[in-house]
Symmetry: C2
Subunit: 145 residues, 2 copies
């Protein structure tokens, strides 16, 4: 396998992934939530509790801007901040009940579209997909180093 050729395949693949994720998530319309705010909620949902610094690092945004968006989300009661009792500079961010609810609805919506996407896949296909995701995760996207 030529590495150059593999690179081209990789580029086309990532473009397709972006395209499909966009299609899967585009009709998730949470009332007056901006894309960045949705990304933050999504990250909190799968990683909570998280600190503002972690959000800032993982979503590649500055701490001041992260802080601003978190404040807006807090004002709308989607998240709550809890101070660390050890290090009182640190704040742990969690979803509130409301926040959990809207994110579960959002994920349910995405999941439904995902199932449509793979509706024609056989049991064998599903196994293949699972295996392929594992391989790529392990060898490219989440290498153990």
């Amino acid at each position: 396998m030529d590495k150059k050729q593999l690179f081209h395949q990789f580029v086309a693949f990532t473009a397709a992934v972006h395209q499909v994720t966009h299609e899967l998530t585009q009709n998730v319309k949470i009332d007056n939530i901006t894309p960045v705010q949705y990304k933050i909620l999504e990250y909190i949902k799968v990683s909570q509790p998280v600190t503002p610094t972690e959000i800032s690092d993982c979503l590649h945004m500055s701490l001041p801007n992260t802080s601003r968006e978190l404040r807006k989300l807090q004002e709308r009661k989607f998240i709550e901040k809890i101070s660390d009792t050890e290090d009182r500079r640190k704040h742990y961010i969690c979803l509130t009940e409301d926040g959990e609810k809207i994110m579960e609805e959002a994920f349910a919506c995405i999941e439904e579209r995902f199932h449509q996407l793979i509706q024609h896949a056989s049991t064998n296909d599903l196994e293949d997909i699972h295996h392929a995701l594992n391989i790529l995760d392990e060898k490219v996207f989440n290498p153990k180093l």
Copy 2:
């Protein structure tokens, strides 16, 4: 393979893909090009010639906004527009020499980082990755229907 479980794996996977693509492309800094403009150039690079309508559809932006960004790119001599001789409403967009040059540089930079990413992969690993990309493309991201 439980479909629900597969969905969770899929979500984690796409997040990792986004993360890695961001890391691969973040240090591609073309002088005064906005992210959207870069996306457009990238799309033109791999699909040229393309029409504004195609760009609009594929990148999910409105035609007026597409037109605006294309004008800016044309002013900077990165692209050129050629009228279709058959249907004179249509305009084919291509990269200029300058445009080709900066995109080749950008791709070279990304390719280098990609090679770093897979530097520890054996020949067998590369074959596995290639195969996994094919499977996912065929069965999830670019189904022939």
